[in-house]
Amino acid sequence: MTRTHLLAIPVLFCLAVSASLAGGALPIGATIPMQDVTMKNVDGEELNLKSIVKPAGTLVVFTCNHCPFAKQWESRIVELGNTYEAKGIGVIAINANDPKEYEEDSFSVMQQRAKEKGMEFPYVVDATSNVARAFGATKTPEAFLFDKNMKLVYHGAIDDNGKDPSKIENAYLKLALEAVLSGEPVPVPETKSIGCTIKFRS
């Protein structure tokens, strides 16, 4: 994801699932897009990204209920989210998948999952998938971390071992969160992991 990024007009940048290409992800240094779009949280409240932003920084994670890769990292996403929200980072998880593709990605299962996993931050529905499109997110899980100036400083994987948390060598997102809190540059700003394509709504 280190090549030239073009932040196209979101509507035009409708990544048809059949033809989506990497390369459209929000570039490092970009501002949080679509801050005014309201999304329904698992508690039933409508909220937008602007309301999530905190002075220390903001973490946006695209995830879902069904994807085995998202599930692998789920507990770690919740742990990181809960920990760093308590430390002053705004945290939100977004499900942009069309539940028509996977019933497990429905709102009721999101509510259940958030409760089971003890999520202390919002888990919302991107009801048009346009927020995911604006971020250029392509898969779940995929993290975007913004610094105190709301500029993207980290994009990518949660860590380098989805399968076995005891064998993590690079806790990429955690290192980035620590860097943001201490005002230091993020050591590795862009990383990758294998994930499930986001099932964009048409």
Binding site: S18, A19, T138, N161, K192, I194
Partner: protein, 164 residues
């Protein structure tokens, strides 16, 4: 087509299809070596998993295109990213699809595999890559594609070589 015929005959005879070969563990280097093996007019690489619905949905179309264009030199390389404990399910799916040729299951860390195979790839699956006869990537896409789309793209990749 022989695979389809064998499959049809097996089904007609009430016999189970021949079991697919166990996917060989491979990192990105091994997959690239497979892509660059001489002899193909173009190579179609598909990264998939048994639990991935779009992957399963497009699988028959990929096989259809591969079988149709094999006489023109198209070679199909299938790479599963299933977890090791899903080997039985992987084999069962491959067998049900009539896959009777060697396939692969990826090993190693995600990032090394994704970037090693193709830096433009975000890591989302399904992912499909088309290489020309020299092993040069000519097209790739994330998400499933339909039979006519895959076929058209594969024909174009084959034509890339023919026009050299």
């Amino acid at each position: 087509m022989s695979t389809i015929v064998a499959l049809v005959l097996a089904v007609a005879a009430g016999l189970p299809p021949a079991p697919a070969p166990v996917p060989a563990p491979a990192g990105a280097d091994a997959i690239l070596a497979e892509i660059r093996k001489p002899g193909a007019g173009a190579v179609l690489v598909n990264v998939w998993a048994t639990w991935c619905s779009p992957c399963r949905e497009e699988f028959p179309d990929l096989l259809h295109v591969a079988r149709e264009l094999a006489p023109n030199g198209l070679r199909l390389v299938l790479v599963s990213v299933d977890f090791p404990e899903a080997e039985a399910e992987t084999l069962s799916f491959l067998t049900s699809q009539g896959v009777d040729f060697p396939t692969f299951v990826r090993t190693g860390k995600d990032e090394a595999f994704v970037d090693g195979l193709e830096p433009q790839w975000s890591g989302a699956i399904p992912a499909t890559f088309l290489y020309d006869a020299n092993g040069k990537l000519v097209r790739f896409w994330e998400g499933k594609a339909s039979y006519p789309v895959i076929k058209k793209r594969a024909q174009k990749a084959l034509a890339t070589e023919e026009t050299r």
